[in-house]
Symmetry: C2
Subunit: 227 residues, 2 copies
């Protein structure tokens, strides 16, 4: 059975890497069985590949694939008999652009809303690594970054508008069926919801319903341990 | 021959509606001949359809189609033997999301950089309409809005990053061949370049080269009267 190396907190069933969730959701949507290999932050470097310090890593027999987008693309090519998450070659190309737009436009904002809460979900050794690396990145303490999250949530709602507008017209960003855009955005909410009680959607019922619809279509609800 | 109703300035060959440009570029890319019907702002209401005051309008025999995205989709369905701008059904769905992201994320910023320059390209009656309607929308004079454009250009460069990152890896946003995302973004630059001498790309050679590559692939260069 293929193995998915993903990220966990102090509890090994608290899975919270947005990028690993993309693969997990894609696997669930396609109905592909896999073994989860949860790793805390400090156990990741070199765990699967020498000099590689990120998740997800997907090991499928002799094949080892990294980068969430590339793993999803690999799964699509390898399992042509399963439901598509790209919808053809034009879909793959567009998804690569949407991937950039989501990662650049949404992930940093989400991060600032939950950064201290993520820290609190980690074991002691991982907390030390996380605080040092993230505080260097932000140039501020985790507490100071997260303190501004109500304002950040307003910005997030603005950034979500184009996605929301699409969901006013169709059940999924992909239209009648979900596509990679749904998976990428849903995965980012899994990251937030596994680590933080803060409602980054600010009670937006339409977005919340879409989130659960997508998670369920990917059989992901059981694996989401909410904070 | 089908007719494309589009927007012009005081000179009828100064075509500058970003939405009409999307259709024009799609027609050019697909090699579909059409008659241009340029209209200044104040001639648009009711020109083709009663109570309809927007361009583009595409009249193809008995069919009249409005909304740029829908016209492009219509052309794709009607001319299956021409190069695709969507790349299949997944591509159509993703393109609808990308359309929202471009319109929401980029168009308002472009608008603020060129709004007074657009005004200056119009005939007197259209200038009066344009100033009144846009100043109400912005809650500021055209001059005041445009005055902040250097700062706006910095924001624009940030918004462009996810697109730019894609173009660092491939000749088009659509990968090896252009897709609707290329057309929608290229069309917005046609809008700016037909109306304003201000370089909204701030000398970004990679983006500029992509612009001309896309425009030429759509046989659009001859129709772009630069300000």
């Amino acid at each position: 059975m293929p193995k998915l190396y993903e990220l966990c907190g102090a509890e090994t069933d608290r899975l919270f890497s947005a990028y690993a969730w993309r693969v997990r959701l894609t696997l669930g949507y396609k109905g592909i069985a896999f073994d989860s290999q949860p790793l805390p932050f400090t156990a990741i470097p070199g765990a699967v590949l020498p000099d590689y310090a990120r998740v997800p890593v997907f090991v499928d027999g002799d094949e080892t694939v990294v980068e969430s987008f590339d793993i999803c693309h690999y799964l699509e090519a390898r399992h042509p008999d399963t439901p598509t998450v790209f919808g053809g070659e034009g879909g793959v190309q567009n998804a690569a652009l949407i991937d950039n737009l989501i990662v650049t436009g949404l992930y940093p904002t989400i991060s600032r809303m939950i950064i201290k809460d993520i820290h609190d979900q980690l074991a002691a050794a991982d907390q030390a690594y996380f605080r040092a690396s993230r505080e260097e990145r932000f140039g501020a303490t985790l507490e100071d970054v997260q303190r501004g999250r109500d304002k950040e949530r307003t910005r997030f709602a603005t950034f979500l508008k184009p996605y929301r507008r699409r969901l006013e017209a169709a059940p999924y960003l992909g239209g009648e069926r979900l596509l990679f855009a749904d998976i990428a955005l849903c995965a980012s909410l899994c990251w937030a919801r596994a680590t933080s009680p803060y409602d980054i959607l600010g009670g937006d019922a339409l977005m919340d319903e879409w989130f659960w619809r997508t998670l369920d279509a990917c059989h992901g609800r059981a694996a989401l341990k909410r904070a």
